[in-house]
Symmetry: C2
Subunit: 216 residues, 2 copies
């Protein structure tokens, strides 16, 4: 059995391109492998708590030395990391808002990049003092953008802080197998966005089928 | 009189390098121009509400057609935009968390990039359907990073989604005069971070004095 972690980060609960794409991906997956487990983590509907002063202090305290209050402040992060650890495939619908991911998706990342759980840290080590702790997982990002030309090598690629940021942050904890699709042209509300959505939706389904069939 | 908008985004309320830098900048400014006004917006201590489904619907409704509930959902954003509009200089302490800005800083940006207030939008326009509405403002970003080599042209510049993202987002609304300073090496906790902090702190003071003396 595979476990899919289905993340949605769009603030739009209806008429969301990224929710349409992630839904199509998951449905196409389950059509191939109906017995698989899907965990839904809707950070667009319910934003994770941003990490705080106390969160940082607790995370950098050895687990056996944490007070009850420290365990409490990490409880939400623990649950998010447990979910992520249990997942084989993470499919994340993450629209571009103002050139980056929505704030709740960043709050999610800040909660799952956890010392001692998803990355190791040791200052006495030679070279980089940190290393990834996750392995064998795969990430699929499904995005949507108002403008167009944000793909690598295109017109305004350097203004895209969604996929490059997601790849860097997930790569840091060991999730380095990443595939990405996106809808563009949303702000023009013309034939181009309809075509882009149709193409990305079909590609999301094909990708789900391909990964599902290759699984294990 | 000049108005400074002093933003802090660090989750750390004490022992924060970015708070140290922003404090030194503001103090150096006020030593030059004691009569100026400083607005403090501490998004690290109090995160702005992430934009929601209802927020987006309200923002894209013409002001005169908004319901009382729509005005209410935009109230926090209105206050943040009012503050930003009143500012001549924005000095923002924004640490790097997991290669990007902290989630509350992104929530701030998503609240101040407001159609009809900080950018214009018109689909019938030829070329880009949006344009910036702010002008004559200046942004100073003060950051801190665990690792080193994130400056343009350096070792891991492509992993930096703080300054490039801030410049793009603030540039979109018309704030294109941007200067940036950062502390590096924090995770090594050795002589290098102490030197980096000292240099960046001195540079922040010099920058404050230079901008303050050139103002108006």
């Amino acid at each position: 059995m595979a476990t899919l972690l289905h993340i949605d980060a769009s603030a739009r609960l209806t008429r969301s391109h990224t929710r349409t794409l992630s839904k199509r991906f998951v449905e196409a997956w389950l059509a191939q492998r109906p017995g698989d487990r899907v965990i839904v983590r809707d950070v667009g509907a319910q934003a994770p708590t941003p990490v705080s002063h106390d969160w940082i202090a607790a995370a950098f305290t050895q687990p056996e030395r944490r007070s009850a209050a420290m365990h409490e402040v990490l409880r939400e992060s623990d649950a998010l990391v447990d979910e992520l650890e249990s997942a084989d495939i993470i499919v994340a619908g993450v629209p571009m808002y103002n050139f980056g991911m929505p704030a709740p998706m960043k709050a999610y990342i800040d909660n799952i990049v956890r010392v001692g759980r998803t990355f190791g840290f040791d200052r006495s080590r030679s070279g980089d003092p940190y290393w990834p702790l996750l392995q064998g997982k795969r990430l699929v990002t499904l995005s949507a953008r108002g403008d167009y030309g944000y793909e690598p090598g295109q017109r305004i690629a350097q203004m895209n802080h969604v996929e490059p940021h997601l790849r860097t942050a997930f790569g840091y904890i060991g999730i380095t197998e990443v595939q990405s699709l996106a809808v563009e042209y949303d702000e023009f509300a013309d034939e181009r966005v309809r075509q882009s959505l149709q193409q990305a939706g079909n590609a999301a389904e094909r990708l789900a089928i391909e990964i599902a069939n290759a699984f294990e």
